[in-house]
Symmetry: C2
Subunit: 330 residues, 2 copies
């Protein structure tokens, strides 16, 4: 079943069928109607591979993420897919599993499938692997990785804003001993969150380096760090975690030690993953909108594909505090 059968049935040439499908204005309405009828009757759907072959555009977008089971990503994937489908594009997803070899495989698959563009939304990222995309001039948008170039765009996330709001919120609540549980410090984004925390506290004149504890953006890391914090001679009255998973781990540790949130300790997370409002108590956290991130990525990809480099000037995603029930005044 192909375009020729449709042409035959509508008694026109394949060119006319093609024109009708692609909405060319130079097909006589009556002819177009006949073609559409034939398409309908035969239940014809054009072969995208053939279209890609001749047009050079696959209408496929690649999305490379670290790990779909990391609760940060499902929202992102969904929003990205929504936006893509709205534009008549398909997406193929690559999970790197935080692993360079798999990342290389993802990129290979993207190139083979001739994606029109790719969005790389991993926390980690090895520039060497990305060379292939450059060489083939594949429009690429990064999250927070700062590579400039003719076919590259970079979306920045304003982590600072959310952290400052979190600190301000706690200070307003009279907290002075505020701890921070970091992420893995090889991550630029984790570094930023930590350094903004430090500078915010210094601005308030309440910074104490003993109150910085290292985590790993996972539950157990948060729990371990929190336990260390609770063993301090003068323990903190509030804790900000570098992400929600860390905060959830910290929450567990606090409960385990027989303390309560927010009565004994106030707690703030980061990201606003789906489960952040399902914890007990619901977690006050910093929202990083994946929907906005996805929309911005697709807009950037569009701009890149159309050579509109001007609209790539300032791609920044804000973050902001959302108050729930894990913080309270002392």
């Amino acid at each position: 079943m192909n375009i020729r059968e449709v042409a035959k049935r509508a008694r026109v040439s394949t060119a006319t069928v093609s024109r009708t499908i692609n909405g060319s204005d130079k097909v006589k309405p009556a002819t177009a109607a006949r073609v559409r009828k034939a398409i309908e009757e035969l239940n014809f759907l054009p072969n995208t591979h053939a279209r890609t072959l001749v047009s050079g555009k696959s209408h496929i977008l690649g999305l490379i993420i670290s790990d779909i089971t990391n609760p940060f990503f499902p929202d992102l994937v969904k929003s990205f897919e929504d936006e893509a489908v709205q534009r008549g594009k398909e997406i193929i997803i690559g999970n790197t599993d935080y692993n360079a070899k798999r990342m290389a495989g993802c990129i290979r698959r993207m190139v083979e499938r001739k994606v029109d563009g790719v969005a790389i939304m991993t926390s980690e990222s090895d520039p060497a692997l990305l060379e292939d995309l450059t060489r083939r001039n594949i429009p690429t948008v990064f999250m927070d990785t700062g590579k400039p170039g003719p076919h590259w765009a970079n979306i920045r996330v304003d982590y600072g804003q959310g952290i400052r709001e979190a600190v301000h919120h706690l200070v307003t609540l009279n907290h002075r001993r505020i701890a921070f549980i970091t992420g893995p410090m090889n991550l630029a984004s984790a570094q930023t969150r930590c350094s903004v925390f430090i500078s915010s506290l210094k601005a308030h004149g309440i910074f104490d380096s003993a109150l910085i504890e290292k985590g790993n953006h996972r539950i157990e890391g948060g729990a371990m760090a929190m336990k260390a914090l609770l063993k301090l001679p003068r323990r903190p009255t509030a804790v900000i975690a570098s992400n929600d998973l860390t905060a959830i781990g910290a929450l567990g540790a606090i409960h385990e030690m027989g303390l309560r949130v927010p009565e004994d300790i106030s707690l703030i997370g980061f990201d606003d993953i789906a489960f952040a409002h399902l914890t007990n108590p619901p977690l006050t956290t910093v929202v990083l909108s994946r929907k906005q991130l996805a929309a911005t990525a697709l807009a950037a990809l569009d701009a890149l594909m159309q050579g509109r480099r001007d609209s790539l000037a300032n791609l920044t995603i804000p973050t902001h505090l959302v108050m729930r029930s894990s913080t309270r005044a002392i």
Copy 2:
């Protein structure tokens, strides 16, 4: 950059390059080596669309799910992708959003992209929409939807086993007033869980229809149902929820009423989503392995594509209880 440039550089014909790529044994090793060298030097990757066009096989698999942000699915998607990539296949994902129109769109996309097969893992499913897949002889595997046919396979999930284990566990713990919070009763899988629960309780001679409350497989449904249950003159001592989200909602409601799990009420979920062991206390639940589900789906698709209908005989995924800390003896 295409196969002709490689051929030119290796001073062979395109046919020889093609044979080399596809591992044909009738290429002289020396020639093959020369070709591989050229491929390497040019960094050539074959165009999958051209290959698909001539071979008729896209090496793409479709995966249709309800909603990637439903915590049941990320694990499934990941396992499915892993298995697919291992087989050298790509996957494209469709989210139906529990919506017939979107489901139709998903199927259309799959057909357009000429997928080699599709796995439909939605809870809901409208047979009429699937006609297109039948007509085009696209191998299709369903989760729990029981459509037989030459190009169809159906994976059953043995919900009963897990529910029976849950009931048995509670009975062993001396519980006699055991409640059940259902899912949406238009879902076959929710119905099964409920009816097995009822028959299990009857088998133990402890069934009380007042202890069945309706939920919707979402958090608030679980919370609402639990509140109703707690208002009963003689409230249950244990509750089984039709899925983990429901159990999490119930847990919140129990806490909200000032009661404790498992001291006052024992609670069991279903699915074992990622957050089931992050609740406080960690949730005793029934595991439905998404990894196994994905592996089985891919095996079934393989069998369908190769016409090995015999290996499709008994595709059943077991479920079993995993004990954590939300249940206790009375």
